[in-house]
Symmetry: C2
Subunit: 472 residues, 2 copies
């Protein structure tokens, strides 16, 4: 097989970058090589699963030409369109951290890397290396999965679904799910979303099996993908325990389904209301950590833990699929932002795993405190009017308004009272325009001030108290 | 029509951001409003042109909910997933410029914007404003076109084609074109590329008309899009003069074709070998500047002028189409990188148009000098063995090897001699795997050292001299 250079990469390499690149590839190959002895035989053959777009996604034609030149430092490269470093405006980058420390980058090679195209398909090598090592420590992926730096999880969802699904294909989702899937990916790409019931622990394995059996009985084409937000589920806030993940994974093995584990809130877990925070050691098993087959595509994000403005995350997947994913990412975007990749690589180096753990623990504290404010305000004001669970992860509290059939009944009053909540129907995986009565709302405790949260809940309670109760 | 908030945007807004956002929207509406009196009646109705994906791309369901709340500073937002600013790690950003000046950002609002989601669909407002004003000065778009900040032109090409083309639809391209179109967009999305002959001035209007007449005669569905790189064309280096652009535009009016003007090399023009450099005032008319109908989608890029590592560009298009483009960009990517948007906005403010012009002029000098080195080396070594034009724009010299039928004949020697060039067939718009004898190569003078360029050309000449001449 041709080396997985992206077309862009092959096209843009200059001599120095070419040899850097090949050295870095050698390194990542060494990783895979290192794991291979313990690796079970491949259970998923992605070559059999690709969509039309996935099959058409091939290494660029220039790749074969460039590959023929091998790893020779004396190569004269006159084929690419990388701007010369002398064209770049910046000579240094300095970032002040909130703890008073700072990151200063004036090494000309790093400063140039920050301004140059992403020529490394799996990401800026120091950040790739951090992500690779971190994933090993956190999940020890049993099937030798590799990682790549992504442009955030939205784009990765688009890439994975486009490589594995054609128009008309179906995807399993939690009954209420991340509205990006509903409003963007599913309708624009002509997919069908198949809802699976959720409870306070997330997706129900019993419901999943029933959905698949029903589809089989009706002779429908079975879904190829299952999309799940297993921790701090969006919008229900549920965290799926390890045992349930094992059951769901087993069903996916039986039905040959690829699991897309969108775990943006993974680090924001705070299971106990007052006890110790888990840090990064006690976060429980991910689907990836159970994945002996290479059927899990795990999406991690810097957005919820650090800052969404960097537009960076990392993906862990089977190397066969990951090759195509790197091609798709680089073809669409020329890879993620170089400036923020270099900044985050430096930050991760400065922090080490200890600093990363400390930051995660601090964020767990931030969101536990915010969740508690909302939960206590609700307990005080909404008891008897609504039902909910104390959030244990993520940014959302999912609430059933028990005196209503449908949240739409009070939308006008919410506007009058200036309280914005997310009506649950908007997050229903078959689309908000499906007519059904939905008494759920998603309340975010991520960004409103504590005072605003208390006031908002009071106003909601007043509205509910004054709304005539209705039988559904 | 519902306000063009992106789904993401609507979903993530907190109160403060909501009101900022609405204020900024008011502002951009004011722009359009300002131009409307002089604006001719719309010639292109995009509603009739959208693909399946384009039709399905609708404002998010949450948008309608959030819009109902209007622009009230007292709104309590508990609907979104924007992380709280206290979660962000950075307190300041400082960038040292090569000229010794620096940009220092410690205003908490800007520092937060740099780390927050892109909640402004057309881009970070100060950078949007810069791009809007700059486009007015450079192109004075006659049909009231608006702008948005993009994640670079590759992604924009993907967005525009997906909104306007279905599988099986065809797109007109220069016979030799940017290989991203060939290797990525066209095959993975199932489009057909229709080649139009080029000469030293780019796409030929005569050839274009003939292609369309032939398709019509054969009863084929006519192309909806024409993709062109009009300046420093990739790979031929050609710059299309204004008169020719007018002719091509007129044909596109007749056949109701949308023009995608990918003008990444626009600022890198150096028409005379020794005389004055044009700066930004003398760059000649763009397709956009001729566009009375709103049928041109113009892609500008910071990648070739400043640095590709920012992953930023700007797009100018009809507001009707631009609305869908903002939805698609934000759905796929949550918008472009916030950190680099804030940095570039500050840089542009610090430079002003004078500083921008000075930088562009300096880059024109850089690439003219590099082009001259390659052109002179070629003149010395390759006269009688090859034909080419002195480059007047961009980064590439397009060369016909006159003693060969096909560049493949010398690929092995090029590998032995360690000289990498881009074989022309790789850039053929119908794909490099189409069997045809192609004696062209693309030589880049962007990044190799001057010495390497001279050595590379000497080695190429030696190879050509020792290759047996062949009749084709």
């Amino acid at each position: 097989m041709v080396e997985p250079l992206s077309d862009l990469e092959a096209g843009l390499l200059d001599t120095q970058l070419l040899s850097n690149h090949i050295a870095s590839f050698g390194k990542s190959r060494a990783h895979s090589g290192h794991q291979k002895p313990d690796q079970p035989a491949r259970k998923v053959d992605y070559d059999k699963l690709y969509s039309k777009a996935g099959k058409a996604r091939q290494p660029g034609a220039l790749t074969a030409v460039v590959s023929a030149f091998g790893d020779d430092p004396d190569i004269i490269g006159m084929h690419g369109g990388l701007p010369h470093e002398e064209a770049f405006p910046f000579a240094s980058f300095t970032v002040g951290l909130k703890d008073g420390t700072r990151i200063h980058i004036d090494d000309p090679a790093k400063v140039a890397d920050a301004q140059q195209y992403n020529i490394h398909v799996k990401g800026y090598p120091p950040l790739y290396q951090w992500a690779f090592d971190h994933v090993q420590r956190m999940h020890a992926p049993p099937a030798g999965q590799d990682v790549m730096i992504s442009n955030g999880s939205n784009h990765t969802i688009e890439v994975v679904t486009s490589l594995l699904m054609d128009r008309g294909d179906s995807i399993l989702c939690e009954e209420f799910t991340y509205f990006y899937m509903i409003d963007s990916v599913v309708p624009t790409r002509g997919y069908k979303a198949v809802p699976v019931e959720v409870d306070q622990f997330g997706m129900s394995p019993t419901a999943l099996r029933k959905v698949l059996q029903d589809m089989q009985r009706r002779g429908e084409k079975l879904p190829r993908l299952l999309y799940t937000v297993p921790v701090g589920q969006n919008p229900t806030g549920a965290a799926t325990p390890g045992d349930r993940k094992r059951e769901i994974y087993k069903i996916c093995q039986e039905y040959e389904i690829i699991v897309v584990e969108d775990d943006a809130y993974y680090y924001l877990q705070y299971p106990s209301a007052t006890g110790d925070l888990p840090g990064v050691a006690g976060l429980g098993p991910s689907y990836l950590s159970l994945d002996t087959d290479g059927r899990v595509v795990r999406l991690d994000s810097f957005s919820k833990l650090l800052a969404p403005g960097f537009r960076l995350g990392w993906v862990t997947a089977d190397p066969q699929l990951l090759d195509k994913m790197t091609m798709a990412l680089h073809a669409s975007l020329n890879g993620p932002c170089s400036v923020t990749q270099v900044l985050l690589a430096e930050l991760m180096q400065q922090w080490g795993e200890t600093g990363f753990e400390a930051y995660a623990r601090r964020m767990q504290g931030v969101y536990r405190r915010r969740a508690a404010v909302l939960h206590e305000a609700a307990t005080q004001e909404l008891t008897g009017l609504a039902e909910w669970q104390r959030p244990t992860a993520g940014m959302f509290l999912w609430m059933k308004l028990t005196t209503l059939c449908d949240v739409d009944e009070i939308l006008e009053q919410l506007v009058q009272q200036k309280v914005v909540v997310l009506p649950g129907r908007i997050a229903h995986c078959q689309g908000p325009r499906t007519p059904f009565a939905c008494p759920y709302i998603r309340l975010s405790f991520a960004s409103a001030s504590e005072e605003d949260m208390r006031t908002g809940i009071k106003r909601l309670a007043n509205i509910l108290r004054s709304a005539p109760p209705r039988a559904c």
